[in-house]
Amino acid sequence: MLLANILVAGLLTGAVYALMALGLSVIFGVIRIVNFAHGEMMVLGMFGAWALNRFLHLDPLWAMPLVAAALFLAGYALQRGLINRFVARPEHMQFLLMLAIAIMLTSAMLMGFGPDARNVQLDYAFDSYDLGGLLVDKVRVLAAGGAVAGAALLWAFFRFARTGKAIRACADNYLGAQVVGLDVKRLYAITFGIGAACVGAAGSLMLLLVDVHPYLATDYTLLAFIIVIVGGLGSLGGALLGGLLIGLSEALSGFFIDPSMKSMFSYGLLILVLLVRPQGLLGRRL
């Protein structure tokens, strides 16, 4: 039963990791820009959910659509106004641009919210379901449920919506998309907006599990990179699988070997995947 508890906790945490990494995967898959400000955007989403809870008493679960919408608009404006100018430039310039945005976001959050860790007080924060000895954390169930719902929405959008199909066309063949008259700049802006919305939604859910402070960002950027590289950069299914695998590997290594070695096993998994299948578990062959 103890092992079952560990496995369930690992899978539920992995589901939230997956939603966080989806945004990174979507942006890279289409625009081919590596978003080094990913963690900072998620922390911004966490602060957004915190502010909605603090001032409007909104549960982070209900704040999730609002935060996602706000980050969609911010992401759209950022891509349209700034990042689009760098799409055709060398990769090192893109890296520097995204790093600069990351540093500016952290500084802005420090100025706006200060260095203190902040959290939300919820009635159900300490609840867990007891399923015949199997203890399942209620907050993690809700967060994982939100993550799965977010991923399903994203999948449906790219599969069935006209704009979603157009974005996929841009990702498949940039020149072809231009030739057939697609407004690529607008589609890129929508894509970045969707990526940012995913991160914002993940931030709202993450606030249920972790206290937020501006310095949290770097860890999450790194974690998101590990997940999408393990799953396959640009693959939505890969990001989901990567998140679940990292969640499970952290749980199992922490329990059977040493909790201090949780991160080591995540990086070990990353190296193994890069050696055996460099394109990631579900990524396209490079």
Binding site: N5, A9, P115, Q121, F126, V210, D219, F255, P259, K262
Partner: protein, 413 residues
């Protein structure tokens, strides 16, 4: 001719004139000397007000800032020159040099051991006195420094005092657990505490056996696995060495996983007495015990300080960071007043002769041994009760009686 003769300068007149001129020239210097005695002592305060230690650094800064008006009411004149170490020893070093260059008579700092070692070295090189408010690295006062004074226990003192206090805690409550699990943060502080516990526990004769030791990443996002492992160990006592965020995560997981040991106790680490811990966890923060140096609620000096502090900062915690930072400034002010001068050597001699009875923290009068270390620090058992950290031991400083074993998570109101 006679007029001319009378105008000629005689030797006597010359002597009088020279004396008068000398007095005139010397007057400003004499005035300066007189003013020098009353000139406020300039204290360079070095704290990590930004970076990863910003939260505690800012708390320490509040302790220093509130010292100025409180000490003024007591007849001391001090002036603070503040600098931010940015949670980095390298920045601490350059900032200490800058403060001394700009005229600081004495420096105070620096909360974190690395930064504290750096500023102590600068103080020694420049011949400027340095008073350590918080910083436990033992080597700082073991290398023959002549300008460095520390009013904070070293790590071995912290562990020894904490373990001894734990022992007396169980003796007082009449219930002694037989087994314990130790969960500790895996950073320099956590490792040095672990080494101290392992080395000192047999000597002190701890009444329980540590059956499992679980280390975790200081930047952890999740402690569910670690707590599951601790619960599986089946020990009676949950002993911890934490910082703030991990302490919150740990208790949250203990409640969710229905892990109910006889109590949660720290031999001497931050986290469980801090305002954010109490506010975030509410009733679940109650009954956790930290064995740490603490403010003596029964001292007149601490009562005066607390009143002034809450007037200036109504929403901030009044804890040991405030107490030790206040005492750092108090020590400098006291030395300057007794020295009657802000000259480095005079301040050092006065610091060596420090004997402050009216102090804020629990323990004997503030004094310094030949190596510059205050040897008379003690740890109190601080138990969270009704959302506040209260002293429960030693009995002469206690605000409440200790409770152990503690009520279950769901039996609290």
């Amino acid at each position: 001719m006679g007029k001319e003769t009378s105008r000629r300068l005689s030797r006597r007149a010359f002597g009088r004139g020279a004396a008068a001129a000398g007095a005139l020239v010397a007057a400003p210097a004499l005035l300066r000397w007189r003013a020098g005695a009353a000139e406020p002592v300039k204290i360079g305060v070095l704290l990590p007000r930004s970076g990863f230690l910003a939260l505690i650094g800012q708390a320490c800064q509040r302790g220093c800032d509130i010292a100025v008006p409180v000490l003024k009411d007591m007849g001391y004149a001090v002036e603070l020159m503040n600098a931010d170490t940015e949670s980095s020893p390298d920045v601490a070093r350059t900032q200490a040099e800058k403060l001394i260059r700009e005229g600081a008579h004495v420096i105070v700092g620096a909360f974190e051991s690395g930064a504290t070692a750096a500023i102590a070295q600068v103080a020694e090189q420049k011949g400027t006195p340095c008073v350590i408010n918080i910083g436990s690295e033992p080597k700082i006062t073991e290398q023959g420094y002549k300008f460095v004074f520390r009013n904070f226990p070293t790590s071995p003192m912290l562990v020894t005092n904490g373990l001894n206090r734990m022992k007396s805690f169980f003796e007082t409550t009449g219930t002694t657990p037989k087994t314990a699990v130790l969960m500790h943060v895996n950073d320099t502080f956590g490792q040095s505490m672990l080494a101290g516990i392992n080395a000192l526990a047999p000597k002190i004769g701890l009444p329980f056996k540590i059956v499992e030791t679980i280390a975790y990443d200081p930047k952890t996002r999740d402690l569910s696995i670690e707590v599951a492992k601790a619960k599986a160990a089946g020990a009676e006592l949950h002993m911890v060495v934490t910082r703030l965020n991990d302490a919150i995560l740990m208790i949250r997981e203990m409640v969710k996983q229905k892990y109910e040991p006889m109590g949660v106790i720290s031999p001497g680490s931050p986290g469980m007495y801090e305002g954010q811990f109490l506010k975030t966890l509410g009733k679940y923060a109650d009954y956790c015990v930290s064995n740490v140096p603490w403010i003596n609620p029964k001292q007149e000096m601490s009562q005066t300080l607390e009143k002034a502090f809450h007037k200036a900062y109504p929403d901030q915690d009044f804890d040991l960071n405030i107490g030790f930072s206040f005492e750092g400034i108090q020590i400098c002010a006291d030395a300057a007043k007794r020295a009657g001068s802000n000259a480095p050597q005079a301040l050092v001699e006065a610091l060596k002769a420090t004997h402050i009875e009216k102090r804020v923290m629990i323990g004997g009068p503030i004094r310094f041994a030949a190596n510059g270390q205050n040897p008379d620090q003690v740890s109190a058992a601080v138990q969270n009760r009704g959302g506040k950290p209260l002293v429960v031991l030693p009995p002469d400083s206690a605000a409440e009686k200790p409770v152990f074993p503690v009520p279950g998570w769901q039996q609290r109101t």
